[in-house]
């Protein structure tokens, strides 16, 4: 039978985590499926489990004075999707995750800790340079989501730590793009996803970012490649595009159907760049 703890507050959870290294179960939408045995049979977990679903200290969204968005690790996708203060890419990814029931259950902390290359939320979080606050009995430390997720299903979480919250500073941009490719509208796991953003002023690209989900062992983003477009004129996009797309392709490492994933990523990025180049109306490119 499983060993399972249900802490009543964060301190108790951290004590249990230190003593037993029990795996935190947040919403359970990944873990319960992985541990499933069948109808009428209790799920079986390989390690002790700590159900933290009820810890109110880790729930909710706030905005700090400098505009930093702080999302508690146990905030659900539905709560994130419903909150207008949440930045476009994160909110859109949350709203397209699973279906209503799943969004009511799945948490942002769980989605990050599960570290699936197909996870919906790490992709926009890495685009925006989001950081995590990791708590243990010794205190807290701060880490970029991009550094925290080290590979497919691998993270830098210590066995006495819990993800407490996600912190995202606002990033200035006036062109925004998010696209997820799945096999059905609801409840589809990403086959491929892309976020992109650009900040264009007086015909110049002041900032450009992109991040690719489900196109490698983790979310793919590379500042050096983005810099190929930064500081350049919008009118130069047509001549820079092919080189940029080839370089972006170079950072992808799709686990399966690489041709499809590489071509589709190219087409999405190309579409976004063409829109900017054409002088499309500022805002969300759909």
């Amino acid at each position: 039978m499983n060993t399972c703890y249900i802490p009543e507050n964060l301190t108790e959870a951290l004590e249990i985590r230190r003593k037993t290294h029990a795996l935190p179960l947040a919403g359970g939408t990944d873990l319960m499926v992985q541990a499933k045995q069948g109808i009428g049979i209790n799920p079986v977990f390989k390690s002790p489990i700590m159900i933290i679903t009820g810890l109110d200290e880790l729930k909710g969204i706030r905005v700090e004075d400098d505009g930093t968005l702080v999302i508690g690790a146990l905030t659900t996708s539905a709560e994130i999707a419903a909150d207008e203060r949440v930045f476009y890419h994160i909110r859109t990814a949350a709203s397209q995750m699973g279906a209503i029931s799943l969004r009511n259950t799945a948490t942002i902390g769980g989605n990050i800790a599960n570290a699936s290359p197909k996870g919906d939320l790490p992709q926009p979080l890495i685009l925006l340079d989001a950081t995590l606050t990791l708590a243990s009995l010794d205190g807290e430390r701060e880490m970029k989501v991009d550094d925290f997720i080290t590979g497919a299903k691998k993270t830098a979480l210590n066995d006495d730590e819990i993800i407490k919250e996600i912190r995202v500073k606002p990033v200035e941009a006036n062109y925004l793009f998010y696209h997820k490719i799945g096999t059905r509208k609801a409840n589809a796991i990403s086959k491929l996803s892309l976020s992109a953003m650009a900040n264009v002023k007086d015909g110049l690209i002041l900032d450009f970012r992109a991040s690719s989900g489900a196109a490698g062992d983790k979310v793919k983003r590379k500042r050096e490649v983005e810099e190929m477009l930064i500081g350049k004129a919008v009118s130069d996009i047509p001549s820079l595009k092919d080189g940029f797309l080839t370089a972006w392709n170079g950072i992808l490492s799709p686990h399966a159907m690489p041709t499809y994933r590489r071509e589709s990523t190219k087409r999405m990025l190309s579409y976004f760049l063409d829109k900017i180049s054409e002088g499309a109306e500022l805002g969300i490119i759909s």
């Binding site: 060993t3 399972c4 109808i39 209790n42 029931s101 609801a186 409840n187």
Partner: protein, 158 residues
């Protein structure tokens, strides 16, 4: 180890569960409480047949462990069908021809209930969105969508 006592509200009554806190909510509802209106389809939270309402929100009970139900307010079709809005939906489903084999229908009714509780006069798009996590292999959905509309009209007295 390590049975836990978990108290929660089920269809309006205080109840108690003692056992493995990782037992799935669906198994507790069907086997311990005999509420067999909760159906198991995929067992992975994707098909919606096991939908219940937890603290006012639609969830799939096949991926929720009992330890996450502590203090929660759970409603299944057996409770919802006796509410005013619930019975209106059930009758509209019958009158509108929404039901063929019936396996998905408890989940569909609960998804409709949550929608109509939150929204008056929903658009077709909103209705389809609300049941997008509930798979039906018989009807093609059109008569379900029409029946939800019928339920909304009846409760608004249109």
């Amino acid at each position: 180890m390590l049975d836990k006592k978990i108290t929660f509200t089920l269809n309006g009554k205080k109840v108690e569960f003692i056992g493995d806190p990782l037992r799935r909510l669906i198994d507790t509802l069907r086997e311990d409480f005999g509420l067999t209106g909760v159906k198991e389809g995929c067992g992975e939270g994707e098909c919606g047949a096991c939908s219940v309402i937890k603290d006012g929100k639609l969830v799939t009970s096949c991926i929720i462990p009992m330890g996450a139900v502590y203090g929660a307010d759970i409603w299944t079709i057996e409770g919802i069908r006796d509410t005013e809005l619930g019975s209106t939906i059930v009758e509209a489903f019958a009158d509108g021809g929404a039901v063929q084999c019936g396996f998905c229908i408890p989940g569909m009714v609960l998804a409709s209930y949550v929608l109509l509780k939150e929204k008056s006069d929903p658009s077709e798009e909103e209705i389809r969105q609300a049941i997008s996590g509930n798979i039906c292999r018989c009807t093609g959905y059109d008569l379900i969508v029409k029946s939800i509309r019928l339920a909304d009209e009846r409760r608004r007295g249109v």
